[in-house]
Symmetry: C2
Subunit: 355 residues, 2 copies
């Protein structure tokens, strides 16, 4: 664990419930992570009255004032060009300039990714950053990436995602040797896109320290067959949202069923603790906070509609990943991969990227 | 509704529980569809003793004897070459030769698709068949395709899927004007692959009689935002299996929660009907039966592990689709699309295919 001497910078104006939920989330996070300090980017006229009601947070924070905010529906390219003084951009700049150990924002995802890529740049050897988060499984939790940063990916991207997912699972889930699976539409070797076949070969033949399980299918994600699920950003995004929607559908079924008759209502009353336990396990707020992995710095995206509890969890993600020094793990894993790949091997793009 | 004068042919040897579950499923289907007749392809030495115990089914069936069976893990190409006398192939042949109105098999999916494509061929104007099935939503049910036949698709394929999904939703769900959505990772117009953009333009500009809603995201599927979800076979397969796995995960959570304490067990006892209602709604057996749409004939794939109840539902899918003459609906919709597309339009591949 690395001691965090720098503050965490928050885009205090990003998200549907900003700045109130951002500050309340930071307040909650202070209880969970004593000693944490914050740099708050946003409109001081709006932040100060809120901080006045939260003395511990006020004591742990400093404000970087700006009135410019990136709208939730702004095009990323416009945000990059015109948002140089926005709360989001100033927050990312603070990480790049070494004034914060990481940034958390609940603002516009596309704008945050575009700005973070331009300002922080990718880690040496990584060509495309990915969005990574955890997902509940029958065995606990797994890590899935990419969740939407890259619509299509080649074999090398998928290999990099595997390396980054491995580092993430070790940092965030505390696993020693995470089992890695490539998402496909069959477990047989000959299934799927060419890029998948090629990535599987690269992982099998030159896997470095990675524990490559092979292909997994959609149902294997919640079944917990592997610890890290590697896929392109299109499939990953659809799968994640499909699971969220399915959870909501089942909750609606349960609500209907347990309010339909006198006895079911009594049962619900008696089984309140059980129903609450199920609801808590399905609560996506507890898994809020997706890292933009592959960048020179810790950048965590909170859901735009996050409440204080959810935002606090996104802060925890940033704190944990920084404390576990995830980016050094990624760089070390890439180097290990490079070492294990014979110079004469046909597949050299990673080595090229590392030069 | 078209009267079904021909029998339905069953691959009696396909699936993990064949032939027992196939025959038991057919027996159940006879109750649901009185007057239905069956042609059973398989080993008469194994089928006759089973039929002896099911007199109504015996009276409604004739056997097409063969001892050859396609293994569940056989490669499709090998099945096509070496399986000419298999129960699966003889069943498909019976449809092609006009001796059955459709085929249902719980056998090897890839082999069934490959054989059906070669023997039945695609409908005029359709280049690639798709796998289509229904999915539960907050508003009832939706239709989703492709669920795994085509790993990658171009804009024209997606347009054809929209037309076929529309016909399927009208036949299977009884909708007058199904709302159609293209699965994407954002609802904004500029999101996603080029093929998606192009397909959206084709649907917007020359939609024929289709009610095109625009892009939908993964969570919109179970939310019931649209009646027909159009996607490539890779994404559709992952999304479907992810939803199945998520359902299993939540059932496991509920089982744990409702058996953990004395009061939760009592609550489960009292709320048994409510819990059963939820379980029934999640029961994938009730939605067993995916059609290979776009072929000259009705070909329905049952889950390989289907029990009798699930197999009976796959039979119902074939019966309903044949009775609603789905393939004529598809041909008419394609013609309507062709008519609405000006000859001078830039996008002509469908017209070419129709020539």
């Amino acid at each position: 664990m690395k001691p965090l001497t720098l503050p965490l910078v928050l885009d205090a104006m990003g998200g549907d419930n900003a700045p109130a939920c951002v500050l309340k989330g930071a307040s909650l996070a202070l209880v969970r992570h004593p000693g944490l300090r914050f740099l708050l980017c946003g409109d001081s006229e709006r932040l100060e009255p809120l901080l006045a009601a939260m003395p511990p947070l006020k004591a742990a924070s400093s404000i970087l004032h700006t009135t410019s905010v990136i709208a939730m529906d702004e095009k990323p390219s416009v945000a990059v060009r015109q948002g140089k003084n926005s709360s989001m951009r100033l927050a990312i700049d603070a990480v790049q300039e070494g004034r914060a150990f990481g940034v958390v924002s609940a603002g516009n995802t596309g704008a945050l990714m575009a700005m973070a890529k331009i300002v922080l740049r990718t880690l040496p050897g990584i060509s495309r950053p990915a969005i990574v988060a955890t997902f509940p499984t029958l065995r606990g939790e797994c890590v899935m990436l990419d969740l939407g940063a890259n619509v299509s990916c080649d074999a090398r991207d998928l290999l990099h995602f595997a390396i980054m997912g491995d580092a993430y699972a070790r940092a965030a889930l505390g696993l020693n040797r995470p089992k890695i699976g490539l998402l496909n539409i069959g477990s047989e070797d000959q299934k799927g896109h060419e890029a998948l076949q090629e990535a599987a070969n690269m992982l099998r033949e030159h896997g470095g320290g990675l524990d490559f399980h092979g292909f997994v299918e959609g149902n294997h994600i919640p079944e917990g067959t592997v610890d890290v699920v590697v896929t392109d950003g299109f499939t990953g995004n659809v799968a994640l949202k499909m699971a969220e929607g399915t959870g909501r559908l089942i909750r609606a079924y349960m609500r209907d069923a347990f309010t339909s008759t006198w006895s079911s209502r009594l049962s619900a009353l008696l089984g309140k603790r059980a129903l609450t336990a199920v609801r808590d396990k399905l609560d996506s707020r507890s898994r809020n906070g997706a890292m933009f992995v592959g960048l020179n710095g810790i950048a965590v995206k909170s859901h735009g509609r996050a409440d204080a509890y959810a935002f606090c969890n996104a802060i925890s993600v940033a704190v944990d990943l920084a404390a576990h020094d995830i980016n050094h793990k990624i760089i070390a894993e890439l180097a290990c991969y490079e070492k294990s790949t014979p110079a004469s091997a046909e597949i050299l793009p990673v080595q090229e990227a590392l030069r």
